[in-house]
C-alpha cells in the first residue's frame, strides 16, 4: 500500500505532464477567449469551479544581511461554472504575526455583450487585514464582478521568517486543470522530500547561478537548488469515511530540513537518518527527564504497599502521579521542569509521562522508556521520510522485572495499561531505550485486541413476550470508550435513555460496574421485560441478537480509493440462552454461518445455533483482525460487513405447541 501512496521525488517522469484539458498560458493576464467562453469542464461536469491554472512558488532566500526568509508566491486562475463555485474566490489568508502578506492582485474576466472579454480589476479597498487571534492575523479579499462563467485570476505573496517549507498541496477540493510548483532554496540547506497521494506529477531539479549575501562584513556566495513540478487534470480531493487523515491521500509535497551547512560552520544534521532524530530527542530534555530523579520518591513506598504484580505496581504509580498532577489537556513531547510541575500540580502529557517514568525507573528492575508517536490524524509515518517533526507525542513502554512489557498513556482518562488512544495505535512508534539504542515498535500488533463479550439469558413467556437479562463485558479500547461515554452523561438516567434510543429496546433496569475503576474492563447489565415479538397465528419469530452490533450503513460507497482505517482490532462474542418454555417448539432454525475473509487477515464471523431441551443456545463471534484494509480489499470488507449484519438479523421460528 505504501508503494502506491508514496513515490520519492526524482524518480517520476510522466509523459502526459503538460496535456491539460484546457490549454492555458500561465502568465498573469494571458487569459484566452476559450477560458472565458467555456461552459463546462468535461473531465468533471459536476464541478462548480475548476482551477484552470495554479502556481505555488516557494523560495527560501537569504537577505543581503544574512536573514532567512520563505517567500510563497501564489497564482491561481479559477473558472466559475456554478453559483457555489463563487466561494472559491472569496479569499481568506490566516497568517502568523511574524509573517507578511503582500502583492495581492485580482482580476475578473467576463464575456461582454458583444463577445469581447471585459476585465475588472479588484480595488484595494476590498482587501482587508486585521488581527485574528493572539498570534495570527487575517487577510481577506473579494474579487469584483464574479458571476457564473467568470475567470478570476489572483496572485498574492506570503513572506515568513523561516527556512522550513510546509506541506504544499497540489490537489484541491475542486478539479485542477494544471498546477505548477517551484521550490527553491540555497544549497546550504538539504531537505528530505516526499510526494504524497495517489495522483502523480512530473518533476525536474536544477541549480541556478550564484547569489550572495553579506555577513559580518564578508560576502558569501551560494547556489540555488530548484525543484519544479507540474500536474495536470487532477480530480478533486475525495473525502471517504473511516480515514484518520484524508488529506494525506491528496497529491502534495512534503519538505523537511535534513541538514544545514553554512561556510562558516560545520554541517548540522537534523534528520539524515532516524539516529539523528533519536539524538535530537535525547538531547532535548526528554531522556534526561525520564532518567531524572522522581521528586516524591519517599511517598512511593506507602503507595506500593501490597502491590505485587507489575500491573498493580504500574497502575499504583500512574494513579499516584495523576492524583497529584492534573493534566492541562495539552499533548507535547519535550517536558518543562517536571519538579516545578510536581509542585504546581498541573502539567502537559509530556511532564506527566516523565514523572510516571521517573517513578517507575526508581523501582528495582523496572524500566520505563518513551515511544514517540505520530498521531494517525496527521498521516502515516514513512521510513524514508525522516524528520524531527514526524512525531506528535509519546507514550511509555514499561518492562517489568518478570520481563512483561506494558504500554501506558498515563493521561488518557478511563484507560488502563495497554489501552492507548486509537489515534496513537500506529505501526511505527519509535522506542528510545535508556541505553541509547532505539527501535521501531508496531503497536497495532503489540497491543491487545479489544473485546465485547455479551451473555444474554432470555425467556419467552406464554404470551410470546421476551424477558431476560444481558450482561456485557467490554475490554481494552472498547472499555475505555464505554467508560468515557458513561462519564459524558450528567446522570445515569440520561445514559440509560441514550442506550435505549440507540438499541431500540425498552430497558427495564440497567447498571454499570467498574466505570470508575482503573482497569481494562467495564461491565454493563440490563434487563428486558415483556418485549413484544413479531408473530402470526401460532408462529412467533425471534431474533436472538436483540440489538445488532453492526449497521449496514457504514460502507455505502460502492468504490473506495483509500484504505479503510479502523480504530483498533476487535473481537465480539455474543452468547445467548433462550428458554422457550413448554409452550413453544422450534419450527425452523436459521443457517449456521462461518465466514473467513482472506483479504482481512484472520477476521472471521461465526454464528451457531443449538437446542437442548427447551433452551436454544446461540453463539455468535465476530473478529476484525486488521486495523487497516487496503482499498483493493474494500469489496471483500463490504461483503464481510454485510454478512455480519445478516448474521445479526438471523431469525428463529417458533410455533405454539
Amino acid at each position: 500500500m505504501r508503494d502506491i501512496l508514496v513515490t520519492m521525488i526524482g524518480l517520476l517522469v510522466w509523459a502526459g505532464a503538460y496535456s491539460q484539458t484546457i490549454p492555458v498560458n500561465p502568465s498573469f493576464g494571458k487569459v484566452s477567449d476559450l477560458e472565458v467562453s467555456m461552459k463546462v469542464y468535461e473531465p468533471d461536469t459536476t464541478a462548480s469551479a475548476v482551477l484552470l491554472y495554479g502556481m505555488q512558488e516557494v523560495e527560501i532566500g537569504i537577505s543581503p544581511q544574512g536573514n532567512f526568509a520563505r517567500t510563497r508566491r501564489v497564482h491561481q486562475r479559477w473558472k466559475i461554472l456554478k453559483d457555489e463555485g463563487k466561494r472559491n474566490v472569496d479569499y481568506e489568508i490566516i497568517y502568523n504575526v511574524d509573517e507578511n502578506v503582500n502583492s495581492i492582485r485580482a482580476v475578473t474576466y467576463n464575456a461582454g455583450a458583444d463577445g469581447e472579454v471585459v476585465r475588472t480589476k479588484m480595488s484595494r479597498q476590498y482587501v482587508f487585514d486585521d488581527k485574528y487571534s493572539d498570534n495570527y492575523r487575517r487577510t481577506t479579499f473579494a474579487p469584483e464582478n464574479v458571476a457564473i462563467g467568470s475567470v478570476v485570476e489572483v496572485t498574492y505573496t506570503v513572506v515568513s521568517k523561516t527556512a522550513s517549507i510546509n506541506d504544499i498541496f497540489i490537489q484541491q477540493e475542486s478539479p485542477v486543470n494544471r498546477m505548477d510548483v517551484i521550490v527553491s532554496y540555497p544549497t546550504y540547506f538539504t531537505y528530505n522530500r516526499m510526494m504524497r497521494g495517489y495522483e502523480r506529477c512530473s518533476s525536474t531539479s536544477s541549480s541556478e547561478a550564484l547569489e550572495s549575501f553579506n555577513l559580518g562584513g564578508r560576502t558569501y556566495d551560494y547556489k540555488k537548488h530548484i525543484d519544479s513540478y507540474t500536474a495536470t487534470n487532477l480530480p478533486p480531493i475525495k473525502k471517504e469515511p473511516y480515514a484518520y487523515c484524508p488529506r494525506q491521500y491528496a497529491l502534495s509535497l512534503v519538505y523537511d530540513i535534513r541538514q544545514v551547512w553554512f561556510p562558516w560552520s560545520s554541517p548540522e544534521s537534523l534528520s539524515n537518518n532516524w539516529t539523528d532524530v533519536d539524538r535530537y530527542y535525547r538531547e532535548s530534555g526528554l531522556m534526561s527527564g525520564i532518567k531524572g530523579r522522581f521528586p516524591a520518591a519517599k511517598e512511593l513506598s506507602p503507595v506500593l504497599e501490597g502491590k505485587a504484580s507489575p500491573a498493580e505496581v504500574i497502575s499504583a504509580v500512574r494513579n499516584f502521579v495523576c492524583s497529584r498532577v492534573e493534566w492541562d489537556e495539552y499533548r507535547s513531547i519535550i517536558p518543562k521542569d517536571v519538579h516545578n510541575v510536581w509542585r504546581q500540580g498541573k502539567g502537559s502529557s509530556a511532564e506527566i509521562n516523565v514523572l510516571v517514568a521517573q517513578a517507575i525507573n526508581s523501582l528495582d528492575s523496572y524500566c520505563a522508556e518513551p515511544v514517540l508517536i505520530k498521531d494517525r490524524r496527521n498521516g502515516f509515518l514513512f521510513d524514508h521520510h525522516i524528520g524531527i517533526s514526524e512525531f506528535d507525542t509519546f507514550i511509555l513502554r514499561i518492562t517489568a522485572p518478570d520481563g512483561s512489557v506494558w504500554y501506558l498513556d498515563p493521561v488518557l482518562k478511563d484507560a488502563y495499561l495497554n489501552v492507548i488512544s486509537p489515534k496513537y495505535i500506529v505501526t511505527q512508534g519509535r522506542l528510545l531505550h535508556l541505553d541509547g539504542e532505539a527501535e521501531w515498535v508496531d503497536l497495532t500488533g503489540e497491543l491487545p485486541s479489544s473485546a465485547e463479550s455479551a451473555f444474554a439469558k432470555l425467556s419467552l413467556n406464554a404470551d410470546g413476550k421476551l424477558s431476560g437479562n444481558v450482561k456485557v463485558k467490554y475490554t481494552n479500547n472498547i472499555s475505555q470508550e464505554i467508560k468515557s461515554d458513561y462519564h459524558s452523561f450528567a446522570s445515569e438516567e440520561e445514559w440509560i435513555e441514550d442506550t435505549e434510543n440507540e438499541i431500540g429496546l425498552s430497558i427495564e433496569e440497567m447498571s454499570i460496574s467498574g466505570a470508575d475503576d482503573y482497569t481494562n474492563s467495564v461491565s454493563v447489565d440490563f434487563t428486558l421485560e415483556g418485549e413484544d415479538l413479531n408473530s402470526s397465528g401460532n408462529m412467533v419469530y425471534l431474533k436472538p441478537v436483540i440489538a445488532p452490533f453492526h449497521s449496514e450503513s457504514a460502507f455505502k460507497d460502492e468504490q473506495r480509493n483509500t484504505p479503510v482505517e479502523f480504530p483498533y482490532r476487535e473481537t465480539l462474542t455474543y452468547v445467548c440462552a433462550i428458554d422457550i418454555g413448554d409452550g413453544y417448539e422450534v419450527s425452523e432454525m436459521p443457517q449456521q454461518i462461518i465466514l473467513n475473509a482472506p483479504g482481512l487477515g484472520k477476521s472471521y464471523i461465526m454464528m451457531q445455533f443449538k437446542q437442548t431441551g427447551n433452551v436454544i443456545m446461540v453463539n455468535y463471534k465476530y473478529s476484525l483482525s486488521n486495523m487497516i484494509v487496503p482499498a483493493e480489499n474494500y469489496q471483500e470488507l463490504r461483503l464481510f460487513w454485510e454478512q455480519a449484519c445478516v448474521a445479526e438479523k438471523s431469525m428463529i421460528t417458533l410455533v405454539k405447541k
Binding site: K82, R138, N145, E494, S535, E558, E642
Partner: protein
C-alpha cells in the same frame, strides 16, 4: 480573609445547592452587573461574578467571554480560581482573543478565558467593559448560561443621567427598583434563588426559562449616528435615514433594467426577471464595520463590485425595482426568532434584511442574499416571522405570511423487487414539499458520490449499482398565488445484495427501508412539550414477492392519535405484492409535562412498528 477559609465557603455554597434540590452542575453565587451610562456616547459595564463549578458539566458557567469591537473595550479584568484551599490568580494576559469574523471584514471579536481546573472549584471574576462611540442598547443581562445552573444572587443595575428615558423588558426578574440620586437614575433588577432549568428535547425556548433583562435608551447614538427607538415606528425612521443616499443606480444599469423588463406583461414578471438578474450578477460578501452593520452599501457600489451583504443586496434590488417602476420596501427581521415585541423596540433585535414587494395578488418577500431560493417562496427562516417594514413613514411591524402545516410534507414511494437469494432491486420516488424542498437547493451541483450519500442517508442498507434517474422541481413556476409552494421530485434506484434475511425456508423483510425512528426521553419530564410547526411524512413501500414464496406474517396495523401527532401503519398482501403505508404527522403543540408519558408511548410504538418485518415462506 485567609485562604484557609475558602474551602469552607465552597462547602457552604454546596450545602445551599443541595437545598435547591436540583442536582445542579454549577451555582452562580453572585452575578452583579452595573451599567453606568455617562452620556449618549459612552458608558461602562462593571461585573462581579462568582461561580461554584460542582462537576465537569457545569464548566460552561465558569467560562468568561465578552464580545468586543473597536468601540467596546475590556478595560480591566481579573479572576481568582479557588480549589482545595489553593488560589490561582488570572489576569488580562491569560485571556484569549479571537476574531469572530466569518465574512470578508467584520469588526467583531471575542475575548475569553476558560479555566483548566477540574471541578469542584470556585471562580470569581471582576471586569469592566468600556463603551465608546455610543451604544444602541444596554448590555443584555442573563446570569445563567447553561442547564442545571442555579443562581443564588444576581442583580443588574442600569444608571443613567436624569432625564434619560429607557425601555426594558425582562423574564423572571420582575420590575426594577428605581431610585433617583444626585442626577443619576438607577434601575435595579434582582434575581434570587433561581433553581436552574433542565434541557430536554421539544422544550420551550430557553429564553422563556432563564432570568434576563433587555434594556435600551430611547434616544441613542451608534457609531456617531443619533437615533430614537422608542417605538418600531421611530426605529424605522432611523433605519430609513440610513438608506438615504444609497439608491444611486448607474445609468447603464437603469438602461439594462429597462431591457430586462421591456417584454414583461406584469409587475410579477418584471420582479422575477430582475431577481434572476440579481442572482446572476451578485454574490453574498459580508463587510460590516460600525454603522455598516445597519447601513447598506450604495447601490452603485454593489453594481460595480457584484457583491454585498443582506442589506446591500436588498437595497440594490430595491433600486433595480424602482428603476423598473415598481415600489418595494426594505424590511428587517430576525431569522432565529419569530416574535418581535410590539411594545419594545430596539436596534439589534433583527439580524437580516429582505425586500417586501407588493404585486398584483401577492406580497413577495425576496431573499436577496440567496436568490437560489425559489421566487415567490417565503422560506422557513422567515415565514411566520415578525418583520419591520421600513419606509419614509418609519417602521411598521408586520408578520410575514406563513403556510399551513399541511403543506409541509415528505412523501416517498418505493418499489422493492425481492429475489429468493435475499437480494433486492429498489426504485424510489421521493417528493418533498415546502420547507423540505429547501434541502435540494444546490443539490445538482454536488458530486455523484455526495448525491448518493445524501439520498441513501436514511437507509440501513449497502447499495449496489446506485443510479440517480431524475430530479425535477417547480422552483421557477411561481404563478402569483400567495399559497404557491415549491416542491422537488427525485427518482433513484439501487440494488441491495442482502436485503432480506434467509432463515431456512423463511425470508424476513424489513417493513420500511427508510426507517424514521424518533427519539424520546426516559426520565420524568420537566418542561412543557413544544412543537412549533407541524409536518408529515408519508411512506409507501410496494414489495414484489419472489416466485415460490408466500406471505406468512404481516405486522399488525397501527393507528395512533394524540395531541402531539398521529401515526398510521398498514400492511396489505395483494397477489404477489405487499403494500406498506406509513404516515407520521406531528402537530404543533404546547402541552403540560404530564402529557409526556403519552408521548413516550407514542414514540415507542412508532419505533417498534418501524422495526417490524414481514415474513415470507417457501410455498412448496
Amino acid at each position: 480573609m485567609t485562604k484557609a477559609f475558602l474551602p469552607g465557603i465552597i462547602l457552604f455554597c454546596l450545602a445551599s445547592v443541595t437545598v435547591a434540590g436540583q442536582n445542579n452542575h454549577a451555582v452562580i453565587c453572585l452575578d452583579q452587573e452595573v451599567f453606568t451610562m455617562k452620556n449618549v456616547s459612552s458608558g461602562s459595564l462593571t461585573v462581579k461574578r462568582v461561580v461554584d463549578v460542582l462537576d465537569i458539566h457545569g464548566k460552561d458557567e465558569a467560562i468568561f467571554y465578552t464580545f468586543t469591537d473597536k468601540s467596546t473595550i475590556l478595560s480591566s479584568f481579573s479572576a481568582i480560581v479557588s480549589k482545595d484551599g489553593k488560589t490561582t490568580r488570572v489576569g488580562k494576559n491569560d485571556l484569549s482573543f479571537v476574531s469572530l469574523a466569518t465574512g470578508l471584514a467584520e469588526d467583531s471579536f471575542v475575548t475569553a478565558y476558560s479555566p483548566d481546573t477540574q471541578p469542584p472549584y470556585r471562580i470569581e471574576y471582576n471586569y469592566i467593559i468600556q463603551y465608546k462611540k455610543g451604544f444602541a442598547v444596554f448590555p443584555f443581562y442573563s446570569p445563567v448560561q447553561s442547564e442545571k445552573s442555579a443562581c443564588e444572587n444576581g442583580s443588574y443595575t442600569i444608571e443613567v443621567p436624569d432625564g434619560t428615558r429607557i425601555a426594558y423588558r425582562s423574564n423572571i426578574v420582575g420590575e426594577p427598583e428605581c431610585t433617583d440620586k444626585n442626577g443619576i437614575v438607577s434601575y435595579k433588577w434582582a434575581v434570587s434563588a433561581y433553581p436552574g432549568y433542565v434541557s430536554e428535547h421539544k422544550m420551550p425556548s430557553r429564553l422563556g426559562l432563564v432570568p434576563w433583562v433587555q434594556a435600551s435608551p430611547e434616544e441613542f447614538m451608534f457609531d456617531g449616528v443619533n437615533g430614537n427607538q422608542s417605538t418600531w415606528e421611530r426605529f424605522g425612521q432611523w433605519q430609513y435615514s440610513l438608506l438615504e443616499g444609497t439608491d444611486d443606480l448607474p445609468e447603464q444599469t437603469v438602461a439594462l433594467v429597462a431591457d430586462l423588463t421591456r417584454e414583461c406583461s406584469s409587475d410579477t414578471d418584471k420582479v422575477r426577471n430582475l431577481y434572476e438578474f440579481l442572482g446572476d450578477k451578485t454574490r453574498y460578501v459580508s463587510i460590516q464595520f460600525g454603522i455598516g452593520g445597519f447601513k447598506p452599501f450604495r447601490a452603485s457600489l454593489v453594481d460595480k463590485t457584484g457583491f454585498g451583504d443582506c442589506k446591500a443586496l436588498t437595497n440594490y434590488m430595491r433600486c433595480l425595482l424602482r428603476s423598473a417602476g415598481i415600489e418595494s420596501e426594505y424590511a428587517v427581521l430576525n431569522t432565529n426568532r419569530a416574535f418581535l415585541d410590539p411594545d419594545y423596540a430596539s436596534v439589534g433585535q433583527t439580524n437580516h434584511a429582505m425586500l417586501c414587494v407588493p404585486v398584483e395578488k401577492d406580497t413577495l418577500w425576496l431573499e436577496c442574499t440567496n436568490p437560489s431560493y425559489p421566487f415567490g417562496y417565503r422560506h422557513s427562516d422567515v415565514a411566520g416571522h415578525n418583520a419591520i417594514i421600513i419606509n419614509s413613514d418609519g417602521g411598521h411591524l408586520v408578520k410575514v405570511a406563513s403556510y399551513p402545516d399541511s403543506l409541509s410534507k415528505r412523501c416517498q414511494n418505493t418499489t422493492v423487487v425481492l429475489y429468493s437469494d435475499g437480494s433486492a432491486s429498489l426504485k424510489v420516488n421521493k417528493k418533498d414539499y415546502l420547507d423540505y424542498s429547501e434541502d435540494w437547493i444546490g443539490f445538482s451541483s454536488l458530486s455523484e458520490e455526495k448525491k448518493m450519500r445524501i439520498l441513501m442517508s436514511g437507509a440501513d442498507v449497502q447499495p449496489q449499482d446506485f443510479s440517480l434517474d431524475g430530479i425535477s422541481d417547480n422552483f421557477k413556476s411561481y404563478d402569483g398565488d400567495p399559497m404557491w409552494t415549491p416542491n422537488v421530485s427525485i427518482d433513484y434506484s439501487f440494488n441491495v445484495r442482502a436485503y432480506s434475511g434467509i432463515n431456512g425456508t423463511r425470508m424476513t423483510v424489513m417493513l420500511n427501508p427508510f426507517s424514521k425512528k424518533m427519539q424520546f426521553q426516559r426520565g420524568k419530564r420537566q418542561n412543557r412539550i413544544v412543537t412549533a410547526a407541524g409536518t408529515s411524512v408519508h411512506d409507501t413501500v410496494r414489495y414484489v414477492i419472489p416466485d415460490g414464496y408466500v406471505v406468512e406474517s404481516l405486522p399488525q396495523d397501527v393507528v395512533l392519535d394524540g395531541e402531539f401527532g398521529s401515526f398510521e401503519s398498514t400492511c396489505r398482501s395483494i397477489g404477489n405484492t405487499v403494500l406498506v403505508r406509513q404516515t407520521t404527522t406531528l402537530k404543533p403543540c404546547d402541552l403540560a409535562p404530564s402529557e409526556y408519558d403519552k408521548y413516550r408511548e407514542f414514540i415507542k410504538t412508532l419505533n417498534k412498528t418501524y422495526s417490524s418485518y414481514l415474513v415470507l415462506v417457501k410455498s412448496d
